[in-house]
């Protein structure tokens, strides 16, 4: 049985869970001291009362550090150099950062259309402008990285201290997102490495030798040293989906609702596998290629202010202190729950007074107060249900590019709902009625992110793109590009080739994998003058996000 620690470093609190022999031994919640993370982490370890540090197999950490740095605009400037080529005008899309466009173009097969112009490079003057970080990204560089590497070599030669990032390492299509992802990943790297060091310091100080893993946006964990910093964004919502997974049977389809103070996160699992977003993650103004779980965050929660409007009320997106029943002075959904006795914390009298303030004096009867409270809860539940519908649409309306896919659409599933967070108990009945599912309260919901992190498995994806005519192969996830020396129309050969790539990467990450899912290969014959001259082949293996065990309360 496993012995694991899960830690969630949030902006206000750091939560931790300690699993001993597969069972939760202790949980911890300590305030996050943003100026002293080492101490915060040591506090968390101490609260967990770990009996034998040497027995711990793994520590997995989820953190909002990178997410918050980006959202609060706390990343140092990065010079963004683009080989943008022809095509759509680059400013048709909204760029949250400035960039410099350079001559040089590739096409979709990775053939050079136009060579770069060195004279432009000479005018760049990065040193004069005190630039220490630069990201170089070319359109179609995921097919051919040549121009990126040429410019990188040139810049390094003239400025050896420069830290560079190249776009082709993000090997999926989408020049715009590749550019912004490369930019962000480089921008947060110093911050992330500092965090990694603090983490390592705290762990060593507590005599723990277990490897440290970081939770990613896609709900998978990877060793601290192997993860790309930007992949650690949104690990909070991912952890809460994983936490729900630990509380259902392994093939259940669930709607996961986590009700916070002012936001509610909603996720979906389908036959035990979390729904992955078909596009990359959006963070602030940045569209990225970061693989993430499909999660909706809606701006409504237990502490959202309820205000009178016209003849009725609205639920605002913000909070102004705690609920009335907990000593605040603005009515909130929490007060509605308290008034209806759906929750047992807070002062009932204060809840009633808060709700009454939303009604004209002559209407403050028990019946009307009751109706108002029920309507507030229904309104919250409606918002949640809309988000659930939107997630289900994302799942059902996935674009299909093959006849087979259109003829075999997703079958309907029987869902259950798991709700956690402060107001969970207060919406259970209403939510069940509205979603027409059974509703289950999440266990350990005060430390659910830490719990999800503790039991996270690694995720792994390896997508091969092979052009036998151009004799080139590429791997989407790592950006690896190499020469293909096999046959023009390979068959079995390509399976072995992918297998080798997978083994190499698994060894590189130092992870163990089971339950690999193979996607069937797609073969596109390349025809010239009615002759087949080669093939474009794509295929992939995946290890989907999941958990290594389940919890019993």
């Amino acid at each position: 049985m496993f012995n694991r620690v899960g830690i969630d470093v949030g902006g206000t609190y750091t939560d931790a869970v300690y699993f001993h022999n597969g069972r939760i031994q202790h949980t911890a919640k300590v305030p996050t001291q943003s100026d002293n993370l080492v101490e915060t982490l040591m506090n968390a370890f101490d609260t967990l009362k770990i009996s034998d540090e040497q027995e711990i197999n793994q520590i997995t950490v989820s953190t909002t550090l990178v997410t918050n740095a980006i959202l609060q605009n706390r990343i140092p400037p990065v010079k963004l150099l683009l080989f943008s080529g022809n095509g759509m005008k680059i400013d048709a899309l909204p760029w949250p950062v400035t960039y410099t466009e350079l001559t040089g173009e590739m096409d979709f097969r990775g053939r050079e259309i136009e060579a770069p112009d060195q004279k432009e490079w000479e005018k760049l003057q990065l040193q004069r402008d005190n630039i220490s970080h630069a990201a170089i990204v070319g359109k179609f560089s995921h097919r051919n990285r040549l121009h990126e590497e040429q410019l990188a070599a040139y810049l390094k030669q003239h400025n050896p201290s420069l830290t560079l990032a190249l776009g082709h390492e993000w090997g999926q299509a989408n020049f715009y997102r590749r550019s912004l992802t490369t930019y962000l990943n480089l921008g947060v790297s110093d911050l992330y490495h500092q965090f990694a060091q603090q983490l390592q310091t705290a762990v060593s100080a507590r005599n723990i030798q277990a490897p440290i893993y970081i939770l990613k946006a896609d709900g998978g964990s990877l060793p601290l040293a192997k993860i790309r910093p930007i992949d650690s964004i949104y690990s909070g919502p991912a952890a809460s989906v994983l936490s729900a997974l630990t509380q259902t049977s392994s093939d259940a389809s669930s709607i996961i609702v986590d009700i916070g103070g002012t936001t509610t996160d909603i996720g979906l699992t389908l036959s035990g596998a979390p729904l992955i977003s078909s596009k990359g993650a959006q963070i602030g103004d940045f569209s990225t290629l970061v693989r993430s779980l499909a999660v909706r965050s809606i701006p409504v929660g237990g502490d959202s202010v309820v205000r009178t409007k016209d003849q009725g009320f609205i639920i605002e997106e913000y909070r102004l202190g705690p609920a009335c029943c907990l000593g605040g002075d603005r009515p909130t959904p929490t007060d509605a729950m308290r008034y209806l006795k759906l929750i047992d914390y807070g002062d009932e009298q204060l809840a009633e007074e808060g709700l009454a303030s939303l009604l004209p004096p002559e209407q403050r009867t028990p019946q009307l107060l009751h109706d108002l409270a029920a309507e507030i809860i229904d309104r919250v539940v409606d918002r949640i249900a809309e988000a659930v519908d939107s997630l289900k649409r994302e799942w059902k309306e996935e674009p299909a590019y093959k006849v087979w896919e259109v003829l075999h659409p997703h079958e309907n599933k029987e869902f259950n709902t798991i709700v956690s967070g402060g107001g969970a108990r207060g919406v259970t009945t209403a939510l069940g009625k509205r979603l027409k599912t059974t509703v289950q309260l999440g266990a350990f919901s005060e430390v659910s992110n830490a719990l999800g992190a503790a039991l996270a498995r690694p995720t792994f994806d390896c997508t091969l793109h092979l052009d036998t005519y151009m004799k080139q192969y590429r791997v989407e996830e790592t950006g690896e590009q190499g020469k293909w020396t096999g046959s023009l129309r390979p068959h079995r050969e390509v399976e072995g080739f992918l297998e080798t790539l997978v083994q190499q990467q698994v060894a590189h990450y130092g992870i163990e994998i089971q339950d690999m899912e193979k996607e069937p290969f797609d073969f596109f014959p390349i025809v010239q003058n009615y002759q087949t001259v080669g093939q474009i082949i794509s295929g992939a293996v995946h290890l989907r996000p999941g958990v290594i065990g389940r919890v019993q309360e």
Binding site: R109, F524, V527
Partner: protein, 444 residues
């Protein structure tokens, strides 16, 4: 900026043959180009996922002979392509999008009123099925189709030849130099829909400038006069100078400008077989033009090497063609069969060659001359010894034509008449019936 819908269905698992132009690879590089540009991240672009058209949707517009069951094995990709057009058309009519681009395989514009198989890579006519869907389901009355594929849109012409409420305009490389060999200026529509078909055959070597000149000086005024509620563009891309099947000289930017001039509510991909040299760029330019974005930076890597007809050389040709077109007068032959209901029935015999499978369909079309409606249509169609009948009661049929349709339909099924099967396309009431002497009647 326009809210533009895109339905991208490249049918990556379907081809008409290993090295056939209509193969898996056809939209592969278009996908690479569109995705790499980040086109789906444009705030005004909305992607839709495909849907399958129903048999009713098809039969409203096309008769599948000898019966739909004979086609079902090969029809799936075509039904998805047609269904995709319906889906995006519906989104446009509902106001969910301002315009849209159905970038789907397989194409459809060579598929006509009667279908015995695949011809010119087409089995079902995506645009025609859409047009009649919008009329039947959304009460649309006047629709224009402008076909900018390099080949004559003979299937679409066939379907709407007698329909005064659908304006069909086809610009194409002259039929004397290219498949399918039709689309001359004298093909102007049937007796009840005279001048609602406009064919503009162009000489090989026509380029951007010439094409735009014709659009501005001939096509747009004609469109404006017709005042359609909806404009559909059959957006074939084989006018591109790199196309292996044709000899025209348009560029990707030229296609962008075509889109900008026509301002279609819906563009539907047709042909285009320069899958590396043209399609990624032409598709991008069309989509950008639809979305109201600048398409002038879209540039295909190859340079135009063929010589292009100058506008000075093209102008006299066009003026001459326009004159010819205007002077063509109606000359129709009345041929009433003994069992035809009262009225003048115009006979139009023709034959259709199915190049994919290599056989001939022989048709005798009859339309009831009518000044009150599009006129009931009666088609006898033969393939080898098999014979099938289509009776069409048109949208907004007058009572006399409607009755004529029922009388013909009844006659067909009489015990001693020697017909084996047929179809009643009752567009007036949106009902389709199949009849087979052995199996009887089936309603859709």
């Amino acid at each position: 900026m326009k809210r533009t819908g895109i339905l991208f269905f490249p049918a990556f698992d379907w081809s008409l043959g290993d090295s056939h132009p209509e193969r898996e690879e056809r939209l592969l590089y278009t996908q690479e180009q569109l995705f790499e540009e980040g086109i789906l991240d444009l705030p005004q672009i909305k992607q839709f996922s495909p849907r399958v058209a129903t048999m009713k949707d098809v039969l409203r517009t096309q008769a599948l002979f000898p019966n739909p069951g004979a086609h079902t094995e090969s029809l799936d990709p075509h039904l998805i392509s047609a269904g995709s057009s319906l889906l995006l058309g519906e989104a446009q009519v509902n106001g969910e999008i301002d315009n849209g681009f159905v970038m789907a395989r397989p194409p459809g514009h060579h598929s006509g009123a009667t279908v015995w198989g695949n011809r010119g890579f087409c089995s079902l006519n995506n645009e025609a099925i859409l047009v009649n869907y919008l009329r039947a389901r959304f009460g649309k009355k006047r629709i224009a189709i402008v076909d900018t594929d390099v080949h004559h849109g003979d299937g679409t012409q066939d379907i709407f030849y007698h329909d005064p409420n659908v304006l069909f305009i086809s610009l194409h490389q002259d039929g004397r130099t290219l498949y399918p060999g039709s689309g001359f200026v004298n093909e102007k529509g049937g007796p009840n829909a005279w001048d609602q078909t406009l064919n503009i055959p162009l000489p090989p070597g026509t380029g951007d400038e010439g094409y735009h000149y014709i659009l501005e000086n001939w096509v747009l005024p004609r469109l404006q006069a017709f005042a359609p509620e909806i404009i559909i563009n059959s957006a074939g891309q084989d006018n591109h100078f790199t196309d292996p099947l044709a000899s025209m000289n348009l560029t990707a930017r030229g296609y962008g400008r075509i889109t900008e001039l026509l301002r279609p509510d819906l563009a539907v991909l047709e042909g285009g077989y320069s899958i590396e040299g043209a399609l990624p760029y032409v598709n991008l330019a069309i989509l950008l033009a639809l979305a109201g974005e600048d398409y002038h930076h879209v540039r295909e890597p190859q340079k135009l090497k063929r010589t292009t007809l100058t506008l000075a050389a093209l102008k006299p040709y066009i003026q001459d063609l326009q004159k010819q077109q205007q002077t063509v007068k109606q000359s129709f032959t009345i041929q009433n069969k003994p069992y035809f209901p009262k009225g003048n029935w115009i006979s139009i015999p023709h034959s259709v060659y199915y190049d994919t499978e290599g056989f001939q369909e022989t048709r005798h079309d009859y339309v009831r001359e009518c000044s009150n409606c599009a006129g009931t249509v009666y088609i006898e169609s033969r393939r080898y010894t098999e014979k099938s009948i289509l009776v069409r009661i048109p949208f907004e049929a007058c009572p006399i034509c409607e009755q004529a349709g029922y009388d013909l339909w009844d006659h067909l099924q009489k015990p001693n008449e020697g017909f084996a099967n047929g179809m009643l396309q009752n567009q007036l009431h949106d009902k389709q019936y199949l009849w087979n002497r052995k199996e009887g009647l089936m309603e859709f």
